[in-house]
C-alpha cells in the first residue's frame, strides 16, 4: 500500500492539518457510531446481569426470536436462488434491456420500507385485491406470519443478485465453455466451475441479506399487526418493550441484534478481503 505521509512539501498536508483531520474523523465516528453502539450494551446491563438474562425468560421474547429466525430461513434461501438465477441470466448472455432488468432488481432498495410493507397490505389486506378471496378461503396473510415473510423478501430482494452480477460479469464465460466442451452437463458446469468461482461473493450476499432479514423493522411493522407472541419479530418486540418503558428488556433483546450486526461486519470485512484476493488472482491469470 502506498503511504503519502512521507512525501514532502506541497505534496502533503502539514502535520497540523493531518492530525486535525484524523481527530475530526475519529470524533465524528465515535460520537455517531461507537457511543450509540456502547449505549446498547450499557443500558442492557444497567440493572445487572440477572436482570439482563431475566429479559429472555419471557415467552413473547422467545417467540419473537423464533419468528425472526423462521422468517430469515425462508426469505434468505428464496432470494439466494433468485440471485443466482438472475446473475446467471444477466452475466452469461447478452440481450436487449439488460440494464433495465438490473435497475428493476435494485428497485426495492429505492423504495421506503414503509411502502414495501404497504403494497402487500393493498394486495392481501381485507380491502385489497385478493382480500375477498382470502377471507372466503380463510387464509390470512396480512397481520400474520406470511405477510412478514413477504415483506422481508421484498426488502432483502436485491442483496445476493447485486453482489453476484458484477462478479460473474467480471469472470466471463471462458471456464464454463471449456467445461461444456469437455463434456460436462450444464448442471455439472454450474456446480463444479461456477460455484467455486463465486462462493465468496455468494456468501457475502447471503450474510448481508440475512442481517437485513433479521433486522427489518419498517416494512414488517406495517404488515405485522403487532400481536405479541404471534406476529412479532425481534425488532418489533424491541419497540413494544421500549414503549412499555421496559428499557432493560428492550436493550437486552437489542444486544442480540447488535451482536448479529457486529458479526455481520466482521464477516463482511474478511470476505471483502477474500473476494479482493480472488479478483486479483483472476486478473493475474489473464
Amino acid at each position: 500500500m502506498k503511504t503519502f505521509n512521507n512525501s514532502n512539501g506541497a505534496q502533503s498536508e502539514s502535520t497540523l492539518v493531518k492530525y486535525g483531520l484524523i481527530f475530526t474523523a475519529i470524533c465524528f465516528l465515535t460520537i455517531m457510531l461507537l457511543v450509540p453502539l456502547i449505549t446498547i450494551f450499557i443500558e442492557a446491563f444497567r440493572k445487572g446481569i440477572e436482570a439482563y438474562f431475566l429479559a429472555f425468560n419471557d415467552q413473547y421474547v422467545l417467540q419473537a426470536v423464533k419468528l425472526t429466525v423462521i422468517t430469515a430461513l425462508i426469505a434468505v434461501p428464496l432470494n439466494l436462488v433468485f440471485g443466482v438465477c438472475a446473475s446467471w441470466a444477466i452475466a452469461k448472455y447478452s440481450f436487449f434491456g439488460k440494464s433495465v432488468l438490473i435497475t428493476l432488481i435494485d428497485l426495492p432498495f429505492a423504495v421506503s420500507p414503509v411502502i414495501s410493507g404497504f403494497v402487500y397490505v393493498l394486495l392481501f389486506g381485507a380491502q385489497g385485491w385478493f382480500g375477498h378471496w382470502l377471507i372466503e378461503n380463510d387464509v390470512q396473510i396480512i397481520f400474520a406470519a406470511p405477510g412478514i415473510v413477504l415483506a422481508t423478501i421484498f426488502v432483502t430482494f436485491p442483496f445476493v443478485a447485486r453482489e453476484l452480477i458484477p462478479l460473474m460479469q467480471e469472470q466471463g464465460n471462458d471456464e464454463e465453455q471449456a467445461a461444456l466442451l469437455l463434456g460436462a452437463s450444464g448442471f455439472q458446469t454450474f456446480m463444479k466451475v461456477t460455484i467455486p468461482n463465486i462462493k465468496w461473493g455468494l456468501l457475502y450476499g447471503v450474510i448481508l441479506c440475512n442481517a437485513r432479514a433479521m433486522g427489518e423493522f419498517g416494512a414488517v411493522s406495517v404488515v405485522s399487526g403487532h400481536i405479541q407472541g404471534v406476529t412479532n419479530t425481534m425488532p418489533l418486540q424491541v419497540e413494544i418493550l421500549y414503549n412499555e418503558y421496559n428499557f432493560v428488556a428492550a436493550f437486552a433483546v437489542s444486544t442480540l441484534l447488535a451482536i448479529l450486526a457486529l458479526l455481520t461486519l466482521v464477516l463482511k470485512y474478511s470476505l471483502e478481503w477474500k473476494a479482493k484476493k480472488q479478483l486479483e488472482k483472476l486478473k493475474e491469470e489473464e
Binding site: 493531518k18 483531520l21 449505549t39 440481450f95 421506503s112
Partner: protein
Amino acid sequence: MRLNFNILKRPKSSIPGFGLTMGYTIFYLSIIVLIPLLALFTEAFSVGWEKFFSATTDARVVESYKLTFYTATIAALVNTFFGVIVAWCLVRYEFFGKRVFDAMVDLPFALPTAVSGIALTTLYSHQGWFGKYLEPIGLKIVFTPIGITIALIFIGLPFVVRTVQPALEELEVEQEEASSSLGANRWQTFYKVILPTIFPAVLTGFALSFARALGEYGSVVFISGNMPFKTEISTLLIITKLEQYDYAGATAVAVVMLFISFAMLLVINILQRWSSKRRGMEAI
C-alpha cells in the same frame, strides 16, 4: 412496421440455461416486486384525481413533506462534509484503530433501525450521556427536528464514505505531483485537482444518503415524538393513516414518495455514470 422481437429470441451462446434462469428471474421479480408496486399505482388511480389531490395537499401532509425534505437535506449535507473527511483519513493516513473504524462505518447498514432508534433516543434524552449536557444549555434534541436529523445522519453515514473512498483510492499521485511542481500549494491542489476528480462521487454519496433519509422510518420514530405538524415525517404519516384505515390517504402520500424515490434513483444512476466516466472508467 416491424417490431423488434430480439428480446424473445434465444441469444447466441453455448452456455445452457437461459430460458430457465431468465424465466425464473422475471417470474420472481414480477410476483415479489413489480405486481405489488403496480397495485399501489392502480390504487392511486382508483382513488380519483380530486381525492388524490386533496389528500396530498392536506396541510398536515404538506408539513410532513417539508419536514422530511428539510431534515434529510441537512443530514445529507452533514454526512457529505464529514464523510469526505473520514474517507480521506481512511485512504491517506495511518492511525491507531483505523481498521476498526473502517469496518465500523458500515454499522448503520448492519444494525436494525429500531435498535439504533432506541439507542439514539436514550443517548439524547435528558438523562442520557449527551442529553444530560445539551439540555441545560437549552438544546433539546429528543422530540425535535434536530433529533430526526441526528437519526438520519446515523442512517446515511456509510453512503458518502463508501462512494468517496474508492474514488480517492484510484486518484493518481502523479496529478498531485504535477500540480505541486507547477507551484500550487496543498490547498490549491486539493481544491483544483483532487476535488473536481472526486466531485461526482461526493455528489453520488450525497444523493444516496438523501434518498435513504427520505424513506427512513425505524430509527426516526423513537426520537421524533411523532407530533403532527411538528415532528411527523412522511413515512410515519403513511402508517398513521393506515392505522386509521384511511387507505386512500395513505396511498396518495405513498405514491408521491415513491415518485420522488424513483426520481432520486434516476439521478443517482446518472451521477454514478458521470462519476465512473470522470474517473476514466468505462460506464458499467
